[in-house]
């Protein structure tokens, strides 16, 4: 019975959050598919802030950052750097995205690109790529949730069963709530996450070493060079760090689900306001890294089976089991809520931009009920695909995140130049995208990420982005027609 203590607490968290998330959905049973996704386009500053914050504090922040600090050391600090820069990019780009959404009643990122370049095939092409790269992100959430269930069961539940449980939990949660549900539960989840990260991030280093300085001095003595780039790796050097920071800063708001979130904002001042206040949340990301560094020496003689488990294992080995239950509960919320948001956006992309526009010729007569059912079936299919991937193609959490980033960042020239550069053309956008995505696929599949450049390494996605932008600009300058509409 003792073994199930952490699991019981974990499930109490999950059931509580599911009920909380279902309330707004139950009140408003006649929601249209559009409302289900963009929530009536009237989200104010703080509600939008909490949704976005809910996106930043994913399972990745929790387990991935600590896992990387444990396994690789210095290169983890790229995570601190990109946040502020990403919001700076967002500050300039998102107000225009939001305004365009209001002006033309856009719901998804693909709608926006379709409008800008007046090309439905380009919109469909973009949604296909978007879906392909949302899957690793979704897989990341499921994998993390599976890890949490596995560790919290104290070995009673195996990996595959844990993943299945994670799958059921996520699918149920999305069925019960829409974007409104995600928003109302995100507040609770953010508070839990921040409290857990700060609490453990400060307590553990003090408990084992008596302070941060003492801890880092010990690590420095045991592993010289571990605390700077390239840390415990061969190829994650300073140039890799710089290119990865840029890639993630530009790519951050290119995730298809962030476009939908931006369209749900009441006016363009909402994303501007968000940009100023979201970086504060980014500051807290140092704390899971501190936990990861604590684990470096603690597990020095007895390495962990999987780096991403560092946070959970250290808590399990330090505290009574109920503490692990609380941490697991907070972590589970951090997986489920972003996963729900991702699933909503992905199913919307497929049902709206691929199914209706691609196969049904944008038929106006498709009933909202039919659309909603399609979206719900898609959610099941998508979670199942992510489940399959996480069981059979397991990968480190950060690697999953970086793969997705490399892919979606290729949208940056398409969207940003399409919004701000009047010479941008459809042909340029297509050529740039094809070159960028082809390079990402080639380099990642042939394990050329990080991409060697002389004595240095650059992030393969960043290299692809540069080529993409170059092709985009040259082809746009050469083409006479098919220019972007801009607004």
């Amino acid at each position: 019975m003792d073994n199930f203590g952490p699991l019981i607490i974990l499930f109490a968290f999950i059931i509580g959050i599911s009920i909380l998330g279902a309330i707004p959905g139950l009140k408003d049973r006649k929601m249209s598919a559009e409302n289900w996704a963009v929530g009536g386009r009237n989200f104010g500053r703080w509600l939008n802030w909490f949704i976005m914050c809910g996106e930043v504090y994913t399972a990745f922040a929790f387990l991935g950052a600590s896992g990387w600090a444990y396994a690789r050391g210095g290169p983890t600090f790229y995570i601190l750097a990109y946040g502020g820069l990403a919001y700076l990019v967002g500050y300039h780009v998102l107000p225009r995205v939001c305004a365009l959404g209001h002006r033309h009643k856009l719901v998804t990122q693909a709608d926006m690109v379709e409008y800008l370049y007046d090309s439905r095939p380009l919109g469909i092409f973009l949604s296909c790529i978007g879906v392909a790269f949302l899957l690793p992100y979704l897989q990341l959430q499921l994998t993390a949730l599976g890890l949490i269930v596995e560790v919290a069961s104290l070995g009673a539940i195996g990996r595959v069963t844990a993943m299945l449980i994670a799958f059921v939990m996520v699918a149920l949660f999305v069925f019960l709530s829409g974007l409104k549900g995600v928003a109302s539960t995100a507040v609770f989840k953010d508070v839990c996450m921040i409290a857990a990260m700060i609490g453990f991030g400060i307590y553990l280093p003090y408990h084992y070493y008596g302070g941060f300085t003492e801890m880092f001095t010990t690590i420095e003595a045991a592993k010289p060079g571990f605390l700077t780039f390239p840390g415990g790796t061969q190829n994650l050097d300073v140039t890799w760090g710089m290119s990865t920071i840029l890639l993630t800063a530009f790519g951050f708001y290119m995730w298809p689900h962030f476009s939908t979130n931006t369209f749900s904002a009441k006016d363009p001042d909402v994303p501007r306001h968000n940009a100023i206040f979201l970086p504060f949340a980014q500051l807290a990301l140092i704390f899971p890294m501190l936990v990861g560094f604590t684990a470096v020496i603690y597990y020095a003689s007895n390495p962990l089976p999987q780096a991403d488990m560092a946070f959970l294992f250290l808590v399990r080995d330090t505290f009574p089991t109920w503490v692990l239950g609380i941490l697991g509960g907070a972590g589970a919320l951090a997986c489920m809520i972003p996963a729900a948001d991702l699933l909503l956006s992905t199913s919307l992309l497929i049902s709206r931009n691929i199914y209706v526009k691609g196969f049904r010729h944008n038929d106006e007569n498709i009933s909202p009920e039919h659309m909603k059912n399609i979206a719900r079936y898609l959610i099941l299919v998508l979670t199942a695909v992510a489940l399959y991937l996480s069981i059979f193609h397991a990968n480190l959490l950060v690697n999953l995140l970086l793969t997705g980033y490399s892919g979606v960042t290729q949208f940056f020239p398409t969207i940003v130049l399409g919004l701000f550069w009047k010479k941008a053309s459809k042909l340029g956008a297509v050529c740039g995208l094809v070159v960028g995505e082809a390079l990402v696929f080639l380099l990642i599949l042939s394990k050329m990420d990080p991409f060697p450049l002389g004595a240095f390494h650059v992030n393969a996605g960043f290299f692809a982005l540069c080529m993409n932008a170059l092709v985009f600009v040259i082809v746009s300058l050469l083409s006479k027609s098919g220019k972007t509409k801009m607004i």
């Binding site: 750097a81 820069l85 363009p268 140092i286």
Partner: protein, 79 residues
């Protein structure tokens, strides 16, 4: 000015990285490079704060938002 405010955090966090990739001295108990990048977030917040101020002055970019949102306003009329 808007360009400068946007450039400063990028210079701080990215361009400076090769020069701050050192562990000593520890500041607030953190390796120097970690402290530098953490402080970079605050640099970005400061830049964003001033950008907001500039954009909300009379005639600033934020005062034209309603024109961009209104479908009846033509592209040529937004200046």
């Amino acid at each position: 000015m808007r360009v400068l405010l946007t450039a400063i955090p990028f210079i701080w966090s990215v361009i400076c990285l090769p020069f701050v990739n050192i562990s000593h001295p520890f500041i607030l108990g953190l390796p120097f490079v970690a402290f530098w990048e953490l402080f970079g977030i605050l640099v970005a917040v400061a830049a964003l704060h001033f950008l907001w101020k500039i954009d909300h002055r009379p005639g600033g970019i934020a005062t034209k938002d309603h024109l961009y949102m209104d479908p009846s306003v033509k592209k040529e009329d937004i200046r």
